[in-house]
């Protein structure tokens, strides 16, 4: 299958001024040429096929937004190569932006004081969408969500959920090849979240749009993404199916035991190291167990383990340890680089 996005060994460094403490330090900073380099993204390679929905995950500050900004052309990579729709995005940002759509979490690209329909018309003209395509897209929107109640409402009067929904619709309006969704479900209630997930899924299926989704909500990932990419400290640490993820760091299960005082005790057990029966037997010697439940580990638990970094790594598999060690090395070397 053809690729929508190809990234090869992409790195991104930021140069920032070393700030000093206190009043004296602030005055010194006025004349300072003392910069340090921060590596936000380190040697990330990635291929994304057309029509895929990719979950792009990572803890806060991992380099997700930086990667997205490079893919959209707002940031230029320090080294490496990015091709989006056959174009180098930062070299031709304006042309690239005709074929992509973006939704950045809590910022809106809609015209604040105008009814939604006016923003749609404006975007239609800015992106040079033909009347026919525009009508077809609106018809598709109507079939996926109930847009009538919000279509004539000024954006400033919308609830957060309605606004996010509108922003997503606006991003798809010119039928882009790729849509970047940066935390689209942040701050939304459960019903709205599921509505938005259905919408994204529907648009992806109907239009074959490639979707890059960054989120902290594992519900989004479970509902939408087959493949996920995890980035931490600027490095790609996982890139595979979501099903693999659960077995990636050992085969985990959650054991819940109801004790004699009716409290539930929960333990995450790595079955490759420990036997579930042993744990139960051991516990039973201490006190009486009234009930037992055995659960598959949720995506959320796995991600929590990965984000936990070093401390989690020490008690999980050797693979994670390795990754953490490389990350620590890289971080140390980048600090050295800055000191020069």
């Amino acid at each position: 299958m053809e690729n929508a996005i190809v990234m090869k060994n992409v790195c991104k460094d930021f140069k920032i001024l070393n700030r000093h403490e206190g009043l004296k330090g602030s005055i010194r900073d006025l004349f300072s040429r003392d910069y340090k380099t921060i590596s936000a993204v380190k040697d990330v390679s990635l291929e994304i096929a057309k029509g895929e929905i990719i979950g792009y995950l990572g803890p806060n500050g991992a380099g997700k937004s930086t990667t997205i900004k490079m893919m959209t052309g707002v940031l230029e990579p320090t080294s490496g190569e990015i091709i989006v729709n056959g174009r180098v995005p930062y070299k031709d940002r304006t042309a690239n932006s005709e074929h992509i759509g973006v939704v950045f979490g809590q910022r809106s690209q809609l015209w604040w004081s105008l009814p939604l329909i006016e923003s749609f018309k404006l975007l239609r003209d800015i992106y040079m969408v033909s009347k026919e395509d525009y009508e077809n897209m609106l018809a598709l929107y109507r079939s996926l969500v109930d847009i009538e109640p919000i279509l004539h409402k000024p954006v400033r009067q919308m609830s957060l959920g309605q606004r996010t929904l509108s922003d997503i619709l606006a991003a798809f309006l010119h039928n882009p090849d790729i849509v970047f969704l940066d935390e689209p479900t942040i701050g939304l209630d459960v019903a709205m979240k599921s509505k938005i997930r259905d919408l994204i899924k529907g648009l992806n299926q109907q239009k074959g749009t490639t979707v890059i989704l960054t989120t902290h909500d594992m519900g989004d990932v479970d509902a939408l993404c087959k493949r996920i990419v995890i980035i931490d400290k600027g490095m790609k640490i996982y890139d595979n199916d979501i099903d693999h993820l659960k077995t990636y760091f050992g085969s985990y299960r959650t054991l819940r035991m109801r004790l004699s005082d009716d409290t539930w005790e929960e333990r995450v057990i790595d079955e490759s190291k420990e036997d579930v029966m042993d744990v139960i037997m051991k516990k039973q010697k201490e006190c009486k167990i009234k009930d037992i439940q055995l659960q598959e580990i949720s995506t959320e638990e796995v991600i929590k383990k990965i984000y936990g970094g070093e401390e989690a790594a020490s008690d999980t598999s050797a693979k994670a340890l390795e990754v953490a060690a490389v990350a620590a090395d890289a971080a140390a070397s980048s600090e050295e680089g800055g000191a020069k």
Binding site: K15, V74, S97, F104, S113, L114, D125, I126, M128
Partner: protein, 269 residues
């Protein structure tokens, strides 16, 4: 060059501006107070001068000039610097950079709608009132057409200056001080607060070649047919000065902005 994109932005700008009817009314009211102040100030100046004509301008001439300058200011005033610094802080600028248009053109046409509205709601009413009150002190002829052309060029010059200051603010990361300095300089040297005729001779000669004059003084001089602007031979050099500055500032502003954007894209926004 794509008119559909641009006019769509103008249209949206007009609709957005019309949402703030109360704001326009308050602006008109604030002007009234300002003009009362100007009236008494200049009345005092003329009284102490002891003659009817100061620097070749009668009291009525000065008042007409300043009232129209204020009206022009209301309509030409832009908030590019404020808006840009806000959108950089909130990160919204990324969304604007990702529109399928050059950022400069996108910004210019986004503001164009509000100019249309303000011209209609503040300048035209003021103009009509001045016209009626002064019984024909404003010439009515081809000068109106010249004035319209001069105003459009003034708009471009003003926008270019705003963009250049906005771009400087990208580097300094602070907005307030620089913007206040810019506003003071423009208001003083453009003739918006004191007619240029009142400046001392040497200083006046310098100011006459600076770009600020292209924003307020030239359109008003053309409208009122002063300083030889009552013939086409008098008007053409003024257009020339305006056009040269419009071109120079647009070019300089574009190059400067492209350089600054490079910095943002290289070093993070």
């Amino acid at each position: 060059m794509n008119l559909r994109k641009r006019l769509a932005l103008t249209r949206a700008g007009i609709m957005e501006s019309l949402q703030y009817r109360l704001g326009t009314a308050v602006t008109l009211f604030a002007n009234l107070i300002y003009l009362v102040l100007v009236y008494f100030l200049w009345k005092a100046i003329y009284a102490s001068a002891g003659t009817d004509v100061v620097n070749g301008m009668t009291f009525t001439d000065t008042m007409i000039y300043l009232i129209l300058a204020t009206a022009l200011f209301n309509f030409l005033e832009m908030f590019v610097v404020w808006d840009m610094s806000r959108s950089i802080q909130s990160g919204k600028i990324v969304l604007d950079l990702l529109k399928p248009m050059k950022f400069r053109s996108y910004t210019f046409w986004s503001y164009s709608g509000s100019h249309v509205v303000l011209f209609t709601l503040t300048f035209i009413p003021t103009f009509i009132v001045v016209m009626i009150v002064t019984h024909g002190a404003i010439p009515m002829g081809i000068n109106l057409l010249y004035f319209a052309i001069a105003t459009v060029i003034a708009l471009v010059v003003n926008f270019s200056m705003e963009m250049i200051v906005s771009t400087i603010c990208l580097y300094t990361e602070s907005t307030w001080g620089i913007n206040i300095v810019k506003e003071t300089i423009v208001l003083l040297l453009s003739g918006a607060s004191i007619p240029l005729a009142f400046f001392p001779d040497g200083f006046k000669t310098i100011v006459e070649y600076l770009p600020f004059r292209a924003v307020y003084d030239i359109p008003l001089t053309i409208l009122l047919e002063k300083n030889g602007a009552d013939t086409i031979e008098g008007v053409l050099p003024m257009f020339g000065l305006q056009l040269i500055w419009a071109l120079v500032l647009t070019l300089a502003g574009t190059l400067f902005w492209n350089h600054a954007v490079k910095k943002i894209t290289v070093n993070g926004g």
